[in-house]
């Protein structure tokens, strides 16, 4: 049996021909992992396939569609674009499939988008607008670049030079200042000097997510160079999507390993967990609420570090050299929970679908902009779960999650308060 050269680059969909053509339609990508299955309610973790019931909207349908695509059997149509893009790429399918098999579902889905862009069919018009905004003003909103640091208040101390660089991100900079402020104050409170990017530009999450890899790569190079120039040893993010970009996608775009980055990428949740253990973070103010925590995809299922790989596939589909697959096992599951549980007064109750089984809010990676109903219905669906467990407060560690949930709460007239992790931690610290 002849071997095929194969690697993990999403620039070539045929790298995933084997993976896509070996999907067995077991729907491990759709269901909550069976061992954790909670029953007939809250039994799925695929927002796309909950939004649209046709098989084609689940990964198992998309693998068949992707196979047809790579074989040149399908033309780009609005339906095909919708199937490919109405999807927050939350990683549930990838992790679900890898419970039993060695197939790269997540990367296949990314590669389909890259092909869409290459073929001139994608991305969606809303994504193109975001790309234009980034090109023009270096942020997803098209807001004035000069306003990017306006979130800084006088009581926040920013160092000229420090080991830690806080990469704020577009949302915290423009629409969710409270997250940037809370994060900065936590850093101050733990006596962790931090600096900011001399000139912060968008991390490129949307670009990478929708398949505009060339543009994303340019941003990656530029941002990494800038961090290098500051001498920072650690890049800290309060945004889950940004964290994923820096930790996983930048190395992927540059065909290097996460370990090869000249700095460590850290999310606020892991920083807070370390600080708690070291004693520099001291949550002493009671926060008397019954709350639950939503595992944002980009710091959980999607957060395993990246290692490039290339090799051959041969007999019985085995690959060589050995490839250790990313299964989401190294996500930040425990860290946020440790911190939340340490806050006095908090009654912490887990979501029915938690950790790797979490149901994505549906907003991330360009989804909310292009498919607002998918984002809205996913958030509302998740809020049903919050109601079911009787939580008053929903905490997440990503501004995209927060905003999407907050909007859904408002639309439904819900009484759930939506908070970011940074806000919760800040509330537990003495002034």
């Amino acid at each position: 049996m002849p071997t095929t050269k194969v690697n993990l680059e999403t620039t070539d969909l045929s790298n995933y021909r084997y993976d896509m053509s070996r999907c067995i339609k077991c729907k491990g990508c759709y269901w909550v992992e069976h061992t954790y299955m909670p029953g007939v309610k809250f039994s799925t973790r695929c927002p796309s396939n909950v939004w649209n019931d046709f098989d084609s909207y689940g990964a198992f349908g998309k693998m068949r569609i992707g196979t047809a695509l790579v074989e040149g059997k399908l033309d780009w149509t609005p339906t095909l674009l919708e199937v490919v893009y109405a999807d927050p790429l939350c990683g549930a399918c990838d992790v679900g499939c890898k419970r039993n098999l060695d197939l790269e579902i997540g990367l296949s889905l990314e590669a389909m988008r890259v092909k869409a862009v290459k073929d001139g069919a994608g991305p969606m018009p809303a994504h193109k607008k975001i790309a234009e905004n980034i090109a023009a003003t270096h942020n997803v909103f098209g807001s004035a670049h000069n306003d990017r640091k306006k979130w800084l208040t006088k009581d926040i101390q920013v160092a000229e030079k420090a080991d830690v660089l806080y990469f704020v991100g577009c949302t915290a900079s423009y629409t969710n200042n409270e997250i940037a402020q809370a994060t900065a104050k936590i850093l101050n409170a733990t006596k962790t000097p931090f600096m900011l990017m001399p000139d912060e530009w968008c991390c490129g999450n949307t670009l990478q997510s929708v398949g505009m890899l060339d543009e994303a790569r340019e941003l990656a190079k530029r941002n990494i160079e800038m961090v290098k120039s500051t001498g920072a040893k650690t890049v800290l993010l309060s945004c889950a999507e940004g964290y994923r970009m820096w930790k996983v996608e930048y190395p992927k775009l540059l065909n290097i390993a996460t370990a090869d980055l000249p700095f460590t990428v850290v999310h606020l949740t892991e920083f807070a967990d370390s600080a708690l253990k070291q004693g520099s973070l001291r949550p002493t103010k009671p926060v008397n609420v019954r709350l639950t925590y939503h595992d944002s995809c980009s710091i959980s299922r999607l957060a395993d570090p990246w290692t490039p790989w290339s090799g051959e596939r041969g007999w019985m589909g085995t690959v060589s050299p050995r490839l250790k697959r990313r299964r989401g096992t190294q996500g930040l599951y425990g860290q946020p929970r440790n911190v939340i549980s340490s806050i006095p007064g908090v009654e912490f109750v887990e979501m029915i679908r938690a950790r790797e089984n979490a149901f994505c809010c549906g907003a991330g990676r360009g989804t909310k902009e292009a498919f607002p109903t998918l984002a809205s219905s996913s958030a509302k669906h998740r809020l049903e779960e919050v109601k079911e467990i009787g939580a008053e407060v929903l905490v997440s560690a990503c501004p995209w999650c927060k905003n999407n949930f907050a909007q859904a709460v408002k639309e439904d007239g819900n009484h759930v308060k939506v908070m970011d992790f940074s806000e919760l931690v800040l509330a537990s610290l003495d002034a």
């Binding site: 999907c23 067995i24 269901w31 069976h34 061992t35 029953g39 909207y57 419970r99 790797e356």
Partner: protein
């Protein structure tokens, strides 16, 4: 040509535009292959098509309307719950309607009377958790926790837990289905009222039309709702733990316990099963094929082969494990009793207990079938038959012997004789023979092996699961019953005179043999000059066969 325009419009009026589509991209998502159960084989490539349209009803009434419309306009249709069973659950004709039943997901539990009512869209994974939460449990069929409860109960439905729980046929209670001509049939207590609790028919039992041994593969109507027996379990919670891929249920050891025993020989392994059955203990009793352990240990496909290729026919032949699940249904004291009896038996037979993890990685909540595709990418079971322990323990080696001729392309398995276990407290025995291959290789040998097993079973006088629609009806028919196929045909013609329900099943494998040139050399049995279809089916099949032949010719030209 798409689905007849008038039919499409009428279907849209039934379900609404959001739940009907003939978009080629949507339909492509419903392709059977290239991979899956029994996929990557000739049958799948030759006999399956993507649907001409997909419809997603929500209620039995909607299903009925759909079926009537299909009959009106001669639109072939196939019922589909998850599609996991592979090609036989997918469209077999061009411009066929796929009826996706996933929205029929009603669920009602009667705890006091130990049953639940489910729609076709409910899967075992959900169902089992609802049962466990209420102190009950069911068998998750070997197809896996992802299988539709109804679809599995009418075509499959067993696992090592069947040692106690038994034949799935006995677990079907009140049932509602839409017959192929659009009439609704309600069975059991549902026949006379609104209650689902009882399954026996009023007089003769029409549940006989539901499944046969391994199912009618959807050619005799659509089951939309069914009450399913739940069995009492024990009250302690089985806590899920771990992170994928290493998830498991932590077992409350005083109430639920797996124990593995190494037996000195196959004879003692078999005798242990008989004795356990006679003693009427345990919740599951099964042999464990060596390569399952390799799958469980391996973190990836490559590691599996590292482990597996170190084995030899001798290590396989000398590996005899009996894996027993003890369940303290009554009390902790009862589990102790079971364990004492089990140890008595093992002492007599020389079985040695091995350290066994206090957890369940499979069977209780998962029935971890997806792992079967890890090794080679393709898999099918060529038998999964319930008979007695006498047949079950002798069946596998006969398969293993035949398989040698077809290895490769079948996976090198050192002559592994498959799996067997006790069933219904030893009243029955179960044997399964699984095969694996890489579908990128020439799979003619696999197609041949599949059919040759049917002849082998006939010659050796084994009962087999691959009967009915699974193998050529004109091959197996005369040899079982005899002539069960004639009765099936009469039933089919009575209830589906137009043959709109999943044509050409139950003759689909016959058609495959006729159509695929590489199968012709195997045809050693008689068939009628013309298959007994209505005219429109004959014409459509003839046209599709011609298209297929033309396709083969042009493939051959290209290769030249």
């Amino acid at each position: 040509m798409a689905i007849v325009k008038e039919a499409y419009k009428a279907l849209e009026d039934v379900v609404g535009a959001a739940y009907l589509s003939d978009d080629p991209v949507i339909c492509e998502g419903y392709r059977s292959g290239p991979a899956g159960y029994e996929a990557g084989l000739g049958y799948e490539r030759v006999m399956t098509k993507i649907p001409g349209a997909v419809v997603m009803p929500k209620t039995t009434e909607e299903v009925q309307k759909i079926v009537k419309i299909c009959n009106r306009y001669c639109v072939p249709y196939v019922p589909y719950s998850t599609g996991f069973y592979g090609p036989r659950s997918h469209c077999h004709m061009e411009n066929e309607l796929l009826v996706d039943l996933k929205r029929l997901n009603d669920f009602e539990f009667d705890e006091k009377h130990w049953y639940a009512v489910v729609g076709s869209g409910v899967v075992y994974s959900q169902f089992q958790e609802e049962c466990l939460r209420r102190g009950g449990y069911v068998v998750i069929g070997g197809g896996g926790a992802q299988a539709s409860v109804i679809a599995n109960l009418i075509g499959d439905g067993w696992s090592p837990l069947s040692h106690r729980i038994g034949l799935p046929h006995r677990r079907i209670l009140g049932t509602e289905m839409v017959l192929p001509d659009g009439e609704i049939l309600r069975m059991g207590s549902l026949a006379v009222g609104d209650d689902w609790f009882w399954g026996d028919g009023i007089g003769p039992d029409l549940r006989g039309l539901l499944r046969g041994y391994t199912g009618l593969r959807g050619c005799l109507g659509i089951v939309t709702k069914m009450a399913v027996k739940v069995l009492p379990f024990q009250p302690e919670r089985l806590q899920p733990k771990g992170i994928s891929p290493n998830t498991a249920l932590a077992l409350p050891e005083k109430r639920v316990k797996w124990i593995n025993y190494i037996m000195p020989s196959k004879e003692t392994q078999v005798k242990a099963m008989y004795e356990i059955g006679k003693a009427e203990i345990a919740g599951a009793v099964t042999k464990v094929p060596l390569f399952w352990r390799a799958i469980a240990k391996a973190e990836c496909k490559e590691e599996f082969w590292d482990i597996w290729l170190k084995e030899t026919p001798e290590t396989i032949a000398n590996f005899h494990i009996v894996r027993v699940l003890l369940i303290g249904f009554t009390s902790e004291e009862q589990l102790e009793y079971d364990e004492n009896v089990l140890n008595d038996i093992m002492m007599e037979l020389g079985g040695q207990p091995r350290p066994t993890k206090p957890s369940d990685e499979s069977w209780i909540k998962n029935a971890d079938s997806a792992g079967m595709w890890l090794m080679c990418g393709s898999y099918v079971s060529v038998d999964y038959v319930i008979e007695t322990l006498k047949q079950a323990t002798e069946h596998g080696p006969v398969y293993a012997e035949l398989k040698k001729k077809y290895t490769p392309p079948l996976m090198p398995d050192h002559g592994d004789p498959g799996w067997f276990q006790s069933f219904e407290l030893g009243y029955q025995g179960y044997s399964e023979f699984l095969i694996y291959w890489d579908q990128d290789e020439d799979t003619t040998g696999v197609d041949h092996f599949y059919l040759e097993t049917s002849k082998m079973n006939i010659n050796h006088r084994f009962y087999t699961s691959l009967i009915g629609p699974h193998q050529p009806m004109y091959l197996t028919g005369p040899k079982y019953g005899p002539n069960y196929h004639e009765w099936m045909l009469k039933i089919k013609n009575e209830f589906d005179p137009l043959w709109t329900c999943h044509p050409p099943v139950p003759f689909a494998h016959d058609e495959f043999v006729e159509r695929a040139p590489w199968m012709h050399e195997l045809k050693t049995w008689e068939t009628p000059k013309e298959f007994p279809y209505p005219q429109w089916v004959k014409e459509r099949l003839a046209a599709e066969a011609a298209t297929f032949r033309a396709g083969l010719k042009s493939e051959a030209k290209v290769k030249k």
